[in-house]
Each structure stands twice: as C-alpha cells, then as structure tokens.
Amino acid sequence: MPRRSKHKLAERFQETALRLEKALGLGGPKTDRFIEKLSNQLSPLLENLETTILATQSLPFGLSKKMFQVYLKEIASEAGISVQDLMTVSQDLLKLLREWFRPEEMKGTLVRLGGLLLLARREGKTDEFGMDPALVEALAPLFQFLYEDYWRLDVKGIGNIPIRGRCLLVANHSGGIPFDGSMVTVACLNEHPSHRNVRFLVEDFVYHFPFMGTFMNRLGAVRACPENAVELLKRGNLVLVFPEGVKGLGKLYSERYQLKRFGRGGFIKIAIQTKTPIVPVSVIGAEEIYPIIWKSSLLAKALGIPYLPVTPTFPWLGPAGLIPLPTKWRIQFGKPISFKNYKPAQAEDGLLVQNLTEQVRGEIQKMLADGLKRRKSVWVG
C-alpha cells in the first residue's frame, strides 16, 4: 500500500507544534533543563507525599494542590512569563486542540466506534492467543489516527522484514503504556508489502491489573515469556519483543534513549533454538510521550505495581494527564541478523548468548544515536 499523503490534520498539527515550540521552548534543550529543574523542585515534595499517603492511607488533597501551584509557577518562570500569561497560553492551546479534534466531525466517528466496540464485545470471539479481531477492527481508526496524524510516523527499512515466515523484531521500549508496540504493529500492517500482522509481547505485570491486561490481550499482545514467544514463532508469526521489559517502560525522562539491560538474553536463546532471524528496531519519539520525572517505588509496592510514574501531567491532571504528548515518531527496521548457522545446543552457551545480546543491543543503540543526531525537534522531527 503506498503511503497515504499526510493528512491536512497532521499538517495543521505540525504548525501548532512549531508554534508551541517557539513560544515555550518545548522539545529543545530548554525542555531538558526545565524538566530537570522541575524534578529537583518536586522530588522532596513528592517524597513527602508518598510517606503521608502511606502513613494515613488517604490522599492529602491539600498537599497535591500545593504541588500543583509550585508546578505552575515553575512552568511559568521557565517560559519567562507570568502565571497569568501561562493561563492564557493554556487556553489558546485548548482552543487549538479543540479545533484540531473538531468535536462535531469526531462525533460521528466516536458513535461508530462505540457501536463497533459494543458489537465486538457481544461476539467476544478470540484467536488462540486472545486477540479479538472484531475489537481490533473497531479500534483501527483510532490507531490509524495516532499513526497518521498524532505521531506522524516515519518508517524506514520495512523491507528488512521477511515477506513471510517467522521473524523476531527487537526494539527499545518506553512510554509507560506500550504504545510503541501498537505503533510498530500498525507500521507493519500499513507499510509492509504483505501487510504483516505483529504479535507483541508485554511484561507480565500488565496481567496483574484489571482491564489493562485483558484489553492489551484482546488487541493482540501476549504475555512475555519464552514459552509464548516460541509457540508464536513456531506458528510462523512476526513477533515483537522489548528485552528492556519493565525497566524500559519506566525509564525516567533523563534516561531516555539509553537502553537498559536486555534481560538475560532470552530472546537470543529463542532465536538460536528456533533459527529465527532477528530484525533490530529503533523507535524514536515514544520516549518523550510520557516524560517521567519521578517514580514512587514505595507507593507502587503498596499498589502491587512495578512503579508509579509522575509526569508533568500525571497524576495532577487526572485521566487527562494520561494523554500522551504529540511527539514526532521515527521507526527504523535494521538489517536482519540470521541465526541459521547456530546449532540449537548453542542456546546453552551463556557467553555466546551474552555476546549476541550485546551485539543486538549495540545495533539498536547505534540506530537510536544516528536517528537522534538527525532529529532537529521532538515535535516535528
């Protein structure tokens, strides 16, 4: 399928993003300084909040309000404007967003989407790994919107993915919510000559949560474990893994694009055992959609989750804080690495596995570095 010419919506958004960048200096080195300052300012308060919540088992609203004021003041001073001006800018921004989303036009889409979702629910048929094709179809317009207009994806090297047969995609991971998995999936579906379906593996902690795990599973994600990866590959699937796992998902903003440890090399073992080629993938843009400035491990423990992220918008703005930032994304598929010449027994060779793991990790880190060097702006690429 030839790449659709960019939407008018996307163009308009591009302009908005540029204006934002000019007005507030968002996305450049100024943002980094700002976020650093913000996290320095907020960290003591947040730690205070954490202990208070744990001690009183309740949410101290007064304190979070205080924090919100600190936060607003910080933003304003960084942008070199008064709090009053900031409010005006925010209102302008809201106006732009409203215009951009065009509620009157979106209404029809939303109603259709709702209808399809209800239908999908009533059927509830899934494949053997839990994907609900009707739900995927119902949500396709939303993901296409994110892909085409919101994050305006640029995809390179799609030809490195084989036309058919099993293949392991290995990518950097980030973003708090695995949107990167969904976008790589849409990329392969849209751009690949045989419109391949991707099954991506997500960390098991997702399955401890209500709704989230089931929802991801119905969309086609499968719990990350060697057994599932092998089974999917044996059936000839294109499987996407994030060896950084939850450590990658919860990266701080300051650690973005620095790859974490690649697990224990499980994906290499699988590639050797099943003689599956690996295609390294770099995803640029996803690591800024939720700039995590601080993580609460104490509270997370109490909630039974790996980490509780704090971003400039979450949890202050409530659910609205979960809206990811509209960065510009680039996905690059690297040259495939063949595992044909290894014997299955070599999967037990720890040193070999570690070396190969490092090789793949290095490949992705290099692709990231190259891509970042070429990128001029977080928002327009």
Binding site: G124, T214, C225
Partner: protein
Amino acid sequence: MAKPSTAGRNSAPPWPNIAITGTASFLGSALLKNLEESPRAGHLLALDVQPPPFRLNKAGWKKIDLTETGVDQKLNDLFRKHRVEILVHAALLNKPIRNLEQSHELQSVGTMHLLTAAAAAKVGKLILASTTDVYGAFPDNPNFLTEAHPPRAGQLSSFLRDKVEVEEQFLKFQKEHAEAAVTLLRPATILGPTVNNFKTHFLQNPVIPSVMGFDPLIQFVHEQDVLRAFLKVIHENHPGLFNIVARGVLPLSRAIRLAGSAPLPLPSFILYPSAELLWNLNIGAVPGSHLNFLKYLCVADGKKAWKELDFKPVYTSEEALLSFKGRELKAGEMARRLKELENAKAE
C-alpha cells in the same frame, strides 16, 4: 499372576481384566459403562463406596472405601483374585469439600493405599484421571501450559494440593516400577450432556460472578472426547503424562454468554473475601483462592496427546460448551468428523 497384555490386542483374545475406582462418579461410571457394552471386554471390577448408577451385566462391584485402614490388603486380594491387569484410578474428589482431613485421606492417602496394593499385586498398567487444574491459574502462566510445566495449583488450595500429590505418587510409582506402564491423563474442564460437577453447576447459574477487569481465556473438553482418550490408553500402552483438551479457547465472558447466563463483574477485593466467607459458611462451592481460575490463564497445550496418543478431539471448546447446554453438533457433522479422524488414522 497377571502380566500386562501388550501383545494380542489386534488378534482374538479378549481384553485384559480392568479395575476402575470411583465408578459411582461421572468419569468412572461412563468408562465402566462403555467397557461393559463392548463384546470383547474382559473381567471388569468396579470399586467405589457406592454402587454404579446403572445395572451391571458383566462387571462386579466391590464396596471399597479408600480411607479405611487395611484397604490395601483388601485391594491386593481383589486384584490377585481377578487377575487385574489394568487399574484406572478415577476416585478423586470432583469438588472441594470442607473437611480437609477427609479430602486428604481420600485423595492423597487413598491413592497411596491403592498404589501399595497395585505394586504388591503387580498390576501391569495404571491410569490416573487427573485434571489440568493442577497447573493452577496464575498471572505468569504461559498461554499454553505443556506437560513440562510444573503443576503449581498446590499454592491455591489443599484440595488441589492433594491432586498434585496424587500425580506425584503415580510418577514415583513409574520410577520405582519401570516394568509397569503408568499413564496420567489431565483433561481440561469436562463438559457434555451428562457430566455433572461443581464447574457445570457453576455454569448453570443464571448470574455468574466474574472478576471485574479480568477475562481469561478458558478451554473445555467434551465428555465423549475424554472417554475416547481413556479408552485409547486402556487399549494401547502409552506411559506418560498427557493433557486432554479440546481445540480452541474462548474468553470467560463469551463462555458465560454462550451458557445463557449473565456475568456479574465484581472487583477482586470484594469477590475474594466474600467467596472465602461463603466457603467458610458452608454456602460457597469453592474456596476463595479458586477464583484465580476466573482471573488468570490456565490453558493446557494438547499437542503431546495429539501427536503421541494420536488423540484428536472431535469437539472444540466452544462446541463442548454448546453440547453441555443441549445444543449438540448435528449428527451428520459428528459422523463426518469421526470418519475424518478414522481416515487420518488409516493413512
């Protein structure tokens, strides 16, 4: 003394003598009935505290209580007297009971007595009716649990821990008696027109509680398919451990809808304590920990049985559920599939 009769199955001699425990319950009685109706059946020994639920023609029922002291000697005498060559153990509890001691005595200790007797009488082949529930439902289960995966359900309840222990005893028996053929079959939740257990009761409720935000994939197996699998390992020698499951999985929510019930999603922090309370109050059917089966995956991989036993289920999971709700496969469709399986075998 009886010897395992591996040879001669295809020639004229009658089938070996078979003892079945738990013949008053669904699986044991269905198996007994099927074997009785076969013209070539050898001697059949039905062992249970209660007589089988139908009139026996050839088989003999002996009242056996596996929790009694001295039951091992009694069993040994019976096995020797009737030259029992095959022992099918289907006398495990099909629902959790509150009397944990009795549950343990019957399942774990009862099996010990049975195996002691089988070893003394040199029974050549042992078959255990276990369940895929022994894997347990956990958030870190792979989508398809193979026989290589350790059974972890012991963490959930003593009822399931006893079942795991029973399996362990059978596996130990195989290690110590290499000459015997020990087969463990783990069927998934059995559904069909005649089966009756705590899970079928659960699916018959007009309103079925579910865990809010969780909708695990589940699988079933049809009673006829389970019977075919058991007959297969009775007639042929296939030592080892096998999952016996239907093809296909379905989300719990869909299963509830197909069963004609309405789901009642409740948050787990309410559901678990209330289920535990109801269980302790003698009202609930299962301990709270069993709600894990409504929350997490416990789906077994049936490929080993398909390959090594050449056991192919006729019904899919969904069809097994529909059959249980009285919506059978059309007779023509059923015959076509069975014929297909036969043909595949012939090739």
